[in-house]
Subunit: 406 residues, 2 copies
């Protein structure tokens, strides 16, 4: 298993592109992904009660047929809180894409990200679909254009691909995602599109996606806000030529591991590129009794505004970490807990049995000044652990969100 | 019932003061409250698993005897995560105060606020207790000095008093509180001290406090972080001379209403003085089916970083409000919901049935530019409602918390 160049077009049979359709001013704002053959398709979606129209459309496609062959994405307008008209626009977009691509409208997924409450500019979208089809490419260029076109406040495109072997055949998973704000656990986080050429049973594909989402995207928080549009889609076209995976055998495990690598990579990209962030914050809870307990403790820490501002200030204010664990809703013994800081600059114990470990403030500040910072809490109970990812809270987060629409 | 001048010393028989003891540099940092006679005492405390030593001490006093006669408070050091030594320091402080005041150590409550993880400077504290006793005063000056001495990042002292009549006797509730950051529902929020001269049964006193806390302090959020030290204490010395209230009669209802006025006033002061805040944000959910449902929806909105930054930017980004309600965990129908903005500058419907109501952005921005802004969500289901309070999220919040300890 190895990381390779490229992203959403790395797996055999997938094409993609991105264009400036005119929704945003002089920025790419529409992307298309297309598979030469129909794909078994899995998806996970926001748990927010307010679901954007494209979430409703894609859920229907994934749950009813479980097959798709293309995705049309726009950035700039979220198509959320747009009523019946908004849903109709998803259908119109899928229909148009179906026409130009020569596939059924019901096999076209759609996704949107941007401002809530505005209707899509449908004339621009429909023309955009035509232009996208003409520019589809199976190159790394095509993948990069698509990854760029789905960005909103993201400062960089986010894509990755892994190659692995199943049943003697080379297979690939590639993916791209976007997300920087309105990001918080619970089928968290943004838009993510994954393509693979592996042949696998449909139910098993969904099973794999749902499992890996729990430990990756659902463990990311930028600002505690679970969006209306969060979507992860995984398309598998079977073109790798492996014998179809129909049970949780060794091949399945290799696939699951590759999927974990791809999704883990992408979700760290999202956390590290959180709106206004200067640092990626990784929180590990080790020696927990149960995995759920470890997860709850992890999430509370990366979500705490006070921890996040302390990381921004390179301030080893560890009381805030223990305080956040204390209100996480999981039981543990603060007076048995050790806490460490770790980064490229070293590792340091700052709390021992719930109290100041007598550390050097200078060393702590040095460790906290790196671009990637880990906090490790050892609660000394059992053998389970969990990891979550977030970022610091900065002036720029306030700037970006105090004035998002202008 | 009417609001009167003063605070913690307004009720008959209560004295207070505040001094610069030397914990902080050139700022008042210790306060004392004293009653001429023993007080029935009620308290509510943080739900955080990490409980500061003074919380443990006060809980014991309130639960075991339910009587107290004095409170010693320090700001600067929270005495949280300080182990057995921290608890011993509470006992030592109470003992010293008992000596100088001539009351049992077990009737002295203690409270601390400030940095977590540091031990109290006990020589300063013990000398401070002596100085406090010498300066006790039943004047409004004494009350103000005490209210000033408990401040940390607060920008202003917070106190209030109400006068009311029970059984033909004039009675008073006075109070002071502090709190600006690490503030979030769940026996929320900071330190609050309340004194009253009413005569009331001990269980009923606790019952009243617990009930009013639910609708006041537990509905405030500055930053989503539930502190380790949150404490509300209510002391009743019976000196008003009313016949003791022993059941939930008309007198009890008058007392409850006065308590609600006092605590409502103080908790709005905390929200409006949230760290770095430029505006008090009030969130009302009306026409809910149940009160709990209304409360959950309210809390999610005042806690959302995205709503808070939008208020800071005077930006009518209503999608974020509906989004926050959507992940609140309470069921409602977004597509039936209307949302209004209201302030001194007017009232405006911005969302109708979950969609843009076609409002004027200019008018919305004008309404959002006031110092007190209300959001009203009408979910059109039943007859219950709830209110929560918060504040905007600003550059200064990041500044204050990125560098709190230096």
């Amino acid at each position: 298993m190895k990381k390779i160049e490229g992203g959403i077009t790395a797996a055999t049979g997938f094409l993609a592109t991105g264009i400036c359709a005119g929704i945003k001013k002089e920025k790419k704002d529409m992307a298309m992904v297309y598979s030469k053959t129909p794909c078994k398709t899995a998806g996970t979606f926001t748990t927010n009660l307010v679901k954007a129209a494209p979430v409703k459309w894609d859920r229907k496609v994934v749950r009813e047929s479980g097959f798709s062959q293309a995705v049309v994405v726009n950035s700039g307008v979220a198509n959320a809180c747009t009523g019946q008209a908004g849903y109709q626009y998803c259908e119109d977009t899928a229909k148009k894409a179906g026409e130009v691509l020569g596939v059924p409208a019901g096999s076209v997924l759609v996704a949107s990200t941007g401002v809530i409450g505005k209707q899509l500019p449908m004339d621009i979208i429909l023309k955009g679909v035509e232009a996208l089809q003409k520019n589809l490419s199976d190159t790394t260029d095509g993948a990069l254009l698509a990854a760029e076109a789905i960005m909103t406040t993201d400062t960089m495109p986010k894509q990755v691909a892994y190659e692995f072997e199943v049943g003697g055949k080379k297979a690939v998973i590639g993916g791209m995602c976007k997300g920087s704000g309105m990001i918080h656990p619970n089928m968290a986080t943004m838009l993510c599109f994954l393509t693979t050429d592996i042949a696998i049973d449909k139910m098993l594909l969904q099973h794999a996606l749902s499992e890996v989402v729990q430990d990756t995207f659902n463990m990311v928080s930028v600002d505690g806000d679970t969006s209306t549009n969060d979507t992860v889609l995984l398309m598998a076209n079977g073109m790798a030529g492996n014998a179809e995976i129909t049970e949780e055998n060794a091949d399945y495990k290799v696939f699951l591991e590759a999927l974990y690598q791809v999704m883990g990579f992408l979700c760290k990209k999202i956390a590290g590129d959180g709106e206004g962030a200067t640092a990626l914050l990784e929180m590990k809870v080790i020696h927990a009794t149960t995995k759920d307990q470890a997860k709850q403790l992890c999430k509370a820490v990366v979500t705490s505004s006070l921890v996040k501002t302390a990381v921004f200030g390179h301030d080893a204010n560890w009381g805030r970490i223990l305080c956040a664990m204390g209100y996480a809703g999981a039981i543990f013994d603060p007076e048995k807990t050790d806490i460490y800081f770790e980064s490229a600059a070293g590792k340091l114990k700052i709390v021992e049995n719930g109290m100041d470990a007598g550390y050097s403030e200078e060393t702590a500040t040095k460790i906290l000044s790196e671009k990637e910072v880990a906090i490790i809490a050892d609660i000394k109970e059992g053998s389970e652990s969990a990891v979550s990812w977030g970022c610091d809270l900065t002036y720029d987060y306030v700037k970006i969100n105090g004035d998002y629409r202008s």
